[in-house]
């Protein structure tokens, strides 16, 4: 069998199967579910697996080469203003098309959708431009992040608390499966043209800064609009009886996502053609490959989003409701952690980040290490989110200390971990979070009669926060290890070590 195909199948299986197994176990031991809904769920899981495989392959063939090419060309731009403009326009275009942003807009009914979408897109554009300037002028990422997040936190005290959770969620939401592979590849492209010692570190950090834009945008909008209750309607588990019903429900969903993903993909394809016309960077075969890659990405995302929204979301909400209704509903904490640990593996963009980290560091940061860190981080965040829904504590109590720790860590860990860490936040909170974790916590919240806007939302924000800490902690461990090693190495080096011996002379 084709090795590449085998590798991709194995990757997608190991991403989706664990979370599927856990939900099955919960349905057997804790919350009995109708066979119909389980069949829906399993069908969704199948679509996730196939979709994931196609998406990974497609992103590798299209998003990565285009992003890298754009990055390389940007680094060749002489004038600052063209760099700024390119970054800004690119940020706006790819954000407007991000499917998750539409969902977010619906979640904030008090702000007209168009206003919200445009503001968020402008936010991403501005911050992407800022991120490019940062690399150009070698401004420390850590310093910039500290300034930005301090501004954010200060700003957050002046908005109605109903906006707070949604605002922090928006940061994670907007950097979805479409933007992440592209922006990350731009970073690698930018760095690949340089050979100074910062180049590897600078391949990361673009996503990190880009996810600040939306938060700020929503916080600012919060001043102008009066908050109203979210109009988020939970979809009930469709009552399906026959296999025909299952097929019908998915068939109804499919065209919807087919359109949505097309809208999301089109701007990037347009960007690609404009870019190709301007630079002529790719030759015929590469263009063919990239187009096939786009096709894969399209098929993959349609299947993935359809499977997640139709198959997973209702089950998430149902589980949330029922678990909250249990007399021992504290069990949500460990179950949340367990779900969090495995659900992050099924985020489509996560593999892209992990592979990027491994390639850029030549294996020093391995996919395995990244995987474990992300899982631990998200496990903690889902448990915290459940705690928040159960108790109704303000998100401020989690976000402020969380970012405080993350920013302090950013002063002491090696630079590359700052970039990867802060990028990982935006990457971890992708479509799986918004289609499974969010309905889960909304379900819990509804069952307990809490305030949706303040209690249920915010789960995405937490998922986007904890990986920053987890990955930087890994950086800290890494730093200590290498520090020890260089100490012992230094001891043995003799004086004449650098003498060159010509072996040909000796013969």
């Amino acid at each position: 069998m084709n090795l590449k195909l085998k590798e991709k199948i194995r990757e997608s299986l190991s991403a989706v199967l664990p979370i599927t197994g856990i939900v099955l176990m919960i349905s057997i031991f804790l919350i009995p579910m109708e066979l119909g809904s389980i069949v829906m769920f399993l069908t969704g899981a199948m679509m996730l697996i196939v979709g994931m495989g196609f998406f990974q392959l497609g992103a590798e063939m299209s998003m990565t080469p285009i992003g890298e090419g754009v990055g390389v060309q940007i680094s060749k731009l002489k004038k600052l203003i063209t760099v700024l403009l390119t970054g800004f326009i690119m940020g706006v275009i790819i954000t407007i098309s991000e499917p998750d942003l539409q969902i977010l807009a619906n979640q904030v009914p008090s702000v007209p959708n168009m206003v919200l979408i445009i503001t968020v897109a402008l936010g991403v554009g501005l911050f992407l431009a800022l991120a490019l300037v940062r690399i150009r002028y070698k401004i420390s990422l850590s310093v910039l992040l500290i300034i930005c997040y301090t501004a954010l936190i200060l700003r957050s005290f002046f908005v109605p608390k109903e906006f707070l959770a949604v605002a922090f969620d928006s940061g994670g939401v907007t950097t979805g499966p479409m933007t992440v592979p592209f922006i990350m590849a731009v970073g690698v492209g930018l760095a690949s043209v340089r050979s100074d010692k910062n180049s590897a570190d600078d391949s990361f950090g673009l996503v990190a800064l880009s996810s600040i834009g939306p938060i700020l945008a929503v916080l600012i909008l919060g001043c102008f609009y009066k908050p109203t209750q979210a109009a988020y309607v939970l979809e009930d588990v469709e009552t399906v009886v026959t296999t025909q019903d299952v097929a019908r429900v998915f068939a109804q969903g499919l065209p919807l996502y087919a359109r949505e993903v097309l809208v999301a993909l089109l701007p990037i394809i347009v960007v690609f053609f404009i870019f190709q016309m301007l630079t002529g960077r790719y030759h015929k075969r590469q263009i063919q490959r990239i187009l096939i890659g786009f096709l894969y990405t399209y098929i993959g995302l349609v299947l993935f989003l359809c499977g997640a929204n139709v198959g997973f979301a209702p089950v998430g909400a149902y589980l949330g409701k029922k678990l909250a209704g249990l007399s021992f509903n504290w069990i949500l904490l460990p179950i949340g952690a367990l779900i969090g640990y495995y659900i992050v593996k099924a985020e489509p963009a996560i593999q892209v980040l992990n592979h990027q980290a491994e390639t850029v560091t030549d294996g020093a940061i391995s996919v395995k290490m990244m995987d474990r860190c992300m899982s631990i981080g998200v496990a903690a965040s889902v448990a915290l989110a459940m705690l928040r829904v159960l108790t109704g504590v303000s998100i401020h109590w989690f976000v402020i200390p969380g970012y405080f720790i993350a920013l302090i860590l950013s002063r002491i860990v090696p630079d590359i971990f700052i970039g990867i860490g802060f990028d990982s936040g935006g990457v971890a909170s992708g479509p799986m979070t918004s289609t499974f974790l969010l309905p889960l916590s909304i379900g819990v919240c509804e069952a307990l009669g809490g305030n949706l806007m303040t209690d249920a939302f915010g789960v995405v924000a937490l998922v986007a926060l904890t990986p920053l800490i987890a990955i930087q902690l890994m950086g800290l461990v890494y730093k200590r290890k290498t520090a020890k090693r260089t100490q012992t190495e230094r001891a043995v080096i003799a004086d004449d070590c650098d003498m060159i011996i010509d072996l040909e002379e000796g013969e």
């Binding site: 030759h283 060159i500 013969e507």
Partner: protein
């Protein structure tokens, strides 16, 4: 020092799937080979269609290690038998002669290299190839490695390895010699039978040389021993 000079040294190169490279690295570590470097590369597609479908290039790891010459045959054989390099798509290993080195490298190699490996020698089946091989390296603009592969595939070559790299030449190279302005390059490494070398290099030069879009330059390196082909 005198004694050390007389020992000759080689560079052992292993190009294999990351998993096999892990195994090899572990084997080297056990065998007390102190100097190992590892980097990332891509195996080329088996056919044009596979490349277009994106099912071509698989991740490969390159492991290089400096070793004394007396170990090279043993190591190549051992790699061949333990990693089963003769299976398709697993990997290749070869050695290149070294003719100069930093004092420290020599000292490390002379002292403690591969004693344990020597003990296990002898019984292994001979996995080394009898034919003479040469390593052909073509450096082309990024994205053109598949063009090179297309040319050499027609000449019967099964596969190659692509290393992404960046040219850091000076201005003179671009303006005077006409080397391309594009700095991002791909190095395509192909192991070929020595008898086929010149023909192959000519073919690459014709199709992917400086006059083509690929703007490739070609060179070849001597190879001492090889396994996995």
């Amino acid at each position: 020092m005198e004694k050390e000079k007389k020992v000759s040294f080689q560079l052992l190169v292993l190009i294999a799937t990351p998993k096999l490279a892990d195994q090899a690295a572990e084997m080297f570590r056990k065998g007390a080979l102190p100097l190992q470097y590892r980097f990332h590369a891509e195996g080329t597609a088996t056919s044009e269609i596979m490349d277009l479908l994106g099912l071509g290039n698989i991740d490969k790891s390159v492991l290089i290690s400096m070793i004394p010459k007396n170990l090279s045959e043993i190591l190549i054989n051992k790699l061949n038998s333990e990693l089963q390099l003769n299976r398709a798509n697993s990997g290749i290993a070869f050695t290149v002669p070294l003719n100069g080195a930093n004092n420290l490298i020599l000292r490390i190699l002379a002292r403690n290299t591969g004693k344990e490996l020597l003990n296990i020698a002898g019984k292994e089946e001979n996995g080394m190839s009898e034919t003479k091989y040469t390593l052909v390296a073509a450096i082309v603009n990024r994205g053109f490695s598949e063009e090179v592969m297309e040319v050499v595939r027609a000449e019967g070559v099964k596969g190659g390895t692509v290393i992404r790299s960046r040219r850091i030449g000076n201005k003179e190279a671009t303006s005077f010699w006409g080397l391309s302005v594009q700095d991002e390059k791909e190095i395509v490494l192909i192991l070929v039978e020595s008898s086929n070398k010149v023909n192959l290099m000519k073919c690459i030069g014709e199709k992917c040389g400086m006059h083509s879009e690929a703007q490739g330059i070609v060179m070849s390196l001597p190879i001492d021993s090889v396994a996995g082909i």
